[in-house]
C-alpha cells in the first residue's frame, strides 16, 4: 500500500560470468541497473556496437520475414487475441528451442530471398504489358519491326498521330516531300489516336522521306520488343506470343514462390522465439556496454525492491562466484519508484503513473485515488445497466486472458471496479438504461405513465426530479474529496517530521474553509438555494465564524513564512488567503458530476422515447423489433460517449482538483532490466 522500499545493489563479479549473470538478472526482471556510471582509470566501458548491430540486423530480417508470412498466410486471430499476453517458457524449454537458432536464421533468409524474387518478378510485369500494348497495332504485320528495307529500297515502319486514311497520308507527303510518287505507303492498322504505317521508297529518296516523316511527327515502331531471347528479329505476332509465354512462366513461378513461402508458415513461432532471443541479447549488450569492467572484474550497480533482495542475493551466490551487497539507499539518492497496492487500489496505479509517480517524501495516494476514482466514474456514468455491461465485459476478459500483460490487466481491473460502482450508483439514482422499464411498460403494456414511473424506483432519489439536491450532494462529495487531499498533505508533513507545516498548510485551511462552509450553511438564503431542509442555530454560526477567523489569521500569518521581512510575509499571507477562491472554483468544478450524470440519463431517455414513439405506433411484432433496434444503437452510442466523458473527467478531478492540494510527483519510475520481448517470456524460479 505504498511506495516500495528499495535497496541499493552492488555486484562485483568475474568478467567471464558477466553474460550469464546479466541473462539471469534479465530473466528475473527484479533489478534496475545503473547505466550512467562514470569510468575511472582501472574500470572501463567496452564498445559493443558491432555485436548490437548484428543482433538488430537479425531482428529486422526476422520482422521482414514475419511480415511476409503474415501477408500470404495470415494468422487467424480473434478480436481480443492481442490481450492474450506473452507465452511463458521455462528456462529448459527456452534453451532447447535455441538449438534451432541457425536453422531458423536460414529459414528467415530463405523467406526473405523468396520474397525478393517475387518482388522482382512482379516488377517486370508492367514493362511486359507495355511492350505488348506497343506491339498490339502490329499484330497483322508479317515482317520484323526492325526491317530496314532491301538492297534498292528502304522502309520506315512506325506510327503517325491521328486516324488517317491512305489519301490523308499522300496529301501530307505531297506537301512535305519532293517525290511522293516514289513512296509506297501501306497502312497496317488504324485507331482513334494513331495509324500504323509502313513507308517504302528507293534508297536515293531516303533522306528526303526521312525528313518529311520527321516533320509529320512519325514515331518508329517498338522494334526492341520484337526480338527473341537470342536477339533474332521476330514478327510482331510471334513477339507477343513470346511475351505471353514469358509472363505465364513468371506467373507460375510467382505462384510457386508463394506456396513455398506458405510452406514456412509453421515456422512462425520459431522465428518469433528467436527474434525475442535476439531482442534480449541486444538489450543485454546494451547493458554490458554501459558497465564498468576491468580485465577480470565487472561491477554492476542498481536498485532492487527490498522484498526481492534476499531471494536475489542467495540465488546469485548459489549460481556465480561474486560479491554482492544490498544496502539502504542514502537520503539524497534518486531512488526509482515502484508502487505496490492491494487488489482494490492497484488498478489505479496506472492513473497515478500517467500523472507522475510520488516524489521524495510523498506517499502513494493509490488508495484514496481508487476510492474516489471508482465513485466519480460511477456518478458520472450513473446507469446500472451500463455498469453491469462494463463490469461483465471486463470480468469476462480478465477471466479469459489470465496471462495478460500487467498494465493492460490493471486497466481492465480498473474499469471492472468502475463498472461495479456505476451499477451501485445507477440503482441508487434509479437509472437502468435510462427509463427503459417505464418506457417499455408504457409502450407495450400500456401502463399509465404515473404507475410506470414507479416500477423501478430509485433507492434514494432521481436526479432528474430534483437536480438541485443532486448538485448539493456533488458539492458535498467534492468538499470531502478536497479535504481528503488536504488530510493527505498533513499526514505527509507529519510523517516527514514537519508538524508545524502540517498545522500551517493543513489545519488552518481546514478551519478557514470548513468555518466558511458551515457559516454559509447557517444562512437561510444558502440553505434555501441548495434545497437543504435544516438551518443551523446561532451557536453554530458564532463558532463557525470564530473558527474561520482563526483559520484566516493562521493562513495570513504563516503561508508567507519563508519571507523574513514581516511586511512581505503578511502581503504573501493575504495573497495566500485569497486562495480560498480556488476552493470555491474547485468545489464548483464538481458540478460536472451532476452534469455528466444527467447527460447519461437524459440521452438514454431520448433514445427510449424515440424507440417508444416508433414502437408504440406500429403493430406489436414490428414495433418490438424496431424498438429493439433503436434501443440497441442508441444505447451503444450513449454508453460509448458517456463512458469516455466519465473517464476523462474522473481523471481531471483527480489530477487537477485532488492532486492540486497535496501532490507534486516527480518520482522516477523503476525500470528493471527485464525481458522486453514481444511474444515469449522465460520464467526461471529461484
Amino acid at each position: 500500500m505504498a511506495v516500495m522500499p528499495m535497496k541499493r545493489m552492488t555486484i562485483i563479479a568475474m568478467r567471464r560470468d558477466r553474460k550469464q549473470l546479466l541473462e539471469f538478472l534479465q530473466r528475473q526482471g527484479t533489478a534496475e541497473i545503473d547505466t550512467d556510471t562514470e569510468e575511472d582509470g582501472r574500470y572501463k566501458k567496452i564498445d559493443v556496437s558491432a555485436q548490437k548491430q548484428i543482433f538488430e540486423k537479425n531482428i529486422r530480417s526476422m520482422e521482414d520475414a514475419l511480415e511476409v508470412l503474415g501477408k500470404y498466410e495470415p494468422e487467424k486471430s480473434g478480436l481480443l487475441s492481442s490481450l492474450a499476453g506473452r507465452k511463458t517458457l521455462t528456462l529448459e524449454e527456452f534453451q532447447e528451442a535455441l538449438e534451432k537458432r541457425d536453422n531458423v536464421l536460414s529459414v528467415v533468409s530463405k523467406i526473405n530471398s523468396l520474397y525478393r524474387d517475387y518482388s522482382e518478378s512482379l516488377a517486370a510485369v508492367p514493362k511486359a504489358e507495355m511492350d505488348k500494348e506497343a506491339l498490339a497495332p502490329w499484330t497483322g504485320f508479317d515482317l520484323p519491326l526492325d526491317f530496314q528495307g532491301t538492297k534498292k529500297t528502304v522502309s520506315f515502319i512506325g506510327t503517325l498521330n491521328g486516324q488517317l486514311s491512305l489519301e490523308d497520308i499522300y496529301v501530307m507527303l505531297g506537301e512535305l516531300c519532293e517525290c511522293p510518287d516514289e513512296v509506297d505507303v501501306r497502312i497496317i492498322t488504324t485507331n482513334d489516336t494513331s495509324t500504323a504505317v509502313m513507308f517504302t521508297t528507293l534508297r536515293k529518296n531516303e533522306d528526303a522521306l526521312n525528313d518529311a516523316l520527321h516533320r509529320m511527327s512519325f514515331t518508329k515502331a517498338p522494334s526492341q520488343a520484337s526480338v527473341s531471347e537470342g536477339g533474332q528479329p521476330l514478327t510482331p505476332a510471334k513477339a507477343i506470343e513470346r511475351i505471353d509465354a514469358q509472363q505465364q512462366r513468371a506467373s507460375a513461378k510467382r505462384q510457386q514462390i508463394i506456396s513455398d513461402i506458405k510452406g514456412f508458415a509453421d515456422r512462425r513461432e520459431d522465428i518469433r522465439l528467436i527474434m525475442d532471443y535476439f531482442k534480449m541479447r541486444s538489450d543485454k549488450y546494451d547493458v554490458i556496454g554501459k558497465l564498468n569492467q576491468s580485465d577480470h572484474v565487472v561491477i554492476i550497480h542498481g536498485y532492487v525492491p527490498a522484498v526481492d533482495a534476499d531471494k536475489l542475493e542467495s540465488a546469485l551466490n548459489d549460481r556465480f562466484d561474486l560479491a554482492c551487497d544490498f544496502s539502504d539507499p542514502e537520503e539524497d539518492e534518486d531512488v526509482p519508484v515502484k508502487l505496490h497496492n492491494n487488489a482494490f487500489a492497484a488498478p489505479v496505479e496506472g492513473v497515478i503513473a500517467s500523472y507522475s509517480l510520488p516524489g521524495k517524501g510523498e506517499i502513494d495516494p493509490s488508495m484514496a485515488v481508487a476510492v474516489f476514482y471508482y465513485f466519480f466514474f460511477g456518478l458520472m456514468l450513473s446507469d446500472a445497466a451500463y455498469g453491469i455491461i462494463i463490469a461483465l465485459a471486463c470480468g469476462i476478459i480478465l477471466k479469459k486472458f489470465k496471462n495478460m500483460e500487467e498494465a493492460v490487466k490493471k486497466t481492465f481491473q480498473m474499469f471492472f471496479y468502475c463498472g461495479i460502482a456505476t451499477t451501485i450508483v445507477g440503482f441508487i439514482f434509479g437509472s437502468f438504461f435510462g427509463d427503459v422499464v417505464s418506457s417499455v411498460a408504457q409502450t407495450f403494456f400500456h401502463v399509465p405513465e404515473a404507475t410506470a414511473g414507479k416500477l423501478l424506483p430509485p433507492i434514494w432519489f432521481n436526479p432528474l426530479d430534483d437536480p438541485i439536491r443532486m448538485l448539493t450532494f456533488c458539492f458535498a462529495v467534492g468538499l470531502v474529496h478536497l479535504f481528503t487531499g488536504l488530510g493527505i498533505l498533513m499526514y505527509q508533513d507529519i510523517k516527514n517530521g514537519h508538524v508545524l507545516d502540517a498545522i500551517y498548510d493543513g489545519l488552518f485551511w481546514y478551519m478557514f474553509v470548513g468555518g466558511c462552509v458551515v457559516l454559509l450553511l447557517c444562512l437561510p438564503m444558502i440553505t434555501g438555494m441548495l434545497g437543504l431542509s435544516f438551518t443551523l442555530g446561532p451557536t453554530v454560526k458564532t463558532v463557525s465564524i470564530w473558527v474561520a477567523i482563526i483559520g484566516f489569521i493562521g493562513v495570513v500569518l504563516f503561508s508567507g513564512r519563508e519571507s523574513r521581512n514581516w511586511g512581505k510575509r503578511l502581503a504573501k499571507g493575504l495573497y495566500g488567503a485569497y486562495g480560498i477562491t480556488s476552493y470555491l472554483s474547485d468545489v464548483l468544478s464538481y458540478s460536472r458530476l451532476l452534469a455528466l450524470g444527467l447527460a447519461t440519463s437524459v440521452i438514454s431517455s431520448v433514445f427510449n422515447t424515440m424507440a417508444g414513439m416508433v414502437g408504440g405506433a406500429l403493430p406489436v411484432v414490428i414495433g418490438v423489433i424496431l424498438y429493439a433496434v433503436i434501443f440497441v444503437i442508441g444505447h451503444i452510442l450513449n454508453l460509448a460517449i458517456n463512458a469516455l466523458g466519465a473517464y476523462v473527467h474522473t481523471n481531471r478531478l483527480q489530477y487537477v482538483e485532488f492532486f492540486g492540494k497535496f501532490y507534486n510527483g516527480g518520482g522516477r519510475p523503476f525500470e528493471p532490466f527485464e525481458e522486453k520481448t514481444k511474444y515469449f517470456k522465460v520464467k526461471e524460479e529461484i
Partner: protein
Amino acid sequence: MSMGTVWALLGAALSALLAGAGSAIGVGKAGQAAAGVVTEDPSLFSKVLILQLLPGTQGIYGLLIAFITLTNIGIMGGSADMSLHKGLLYFAACLPMAVVGLISAICQAKAAVAAIGLVAKKPDQFGKAMIFPAMVETYAILALLVSILSIFGVSALA
C-alpha cells in the same frame, strides 16, 4: 400555437444547432490531426481516437438541452401553448449551451489537436495530453449545468 412556443423552440433549435456545429468543426479538425498521426504509427489509433472525440461532447450537450426543452414545452406531445414571456425564458435558458457549446468545442479542438501532436511524439504521456482539452470542456459543462437548471426552473414556474 403561440409566440411563446416559437421562442422556446428557437432556443432548443439553437442549442442543438450551434453546439452541434461547434462539435462538428472540432471533431473534424481533431480528426485530421489524428489521421495524420495514424499514418505514421497505426498503434496510436485508440489513443488519438479518444482525443478526437473530446470536442464532440458539446454536440451531445446541445442535443440534451434541446431535448429537455422540447419535452418541457410540449412539442413532443401534449399542449404546445405558452405565454410569450415564458417562451423567452426558455430561449434565454438555452443560450448558454448554444453559445458556449459552439465556442468551447472549437477551442477544445485546438487543444485536442495539440494534444494529438503530443501523443504522437510521446505516447506514454497520454494521461496528461487528455487533460488539456478536458480543461476547456469544463466551461461547456458549466454552461450545460446553467441551461439544465434554468430549464427545470422555468418549467417549475407557473
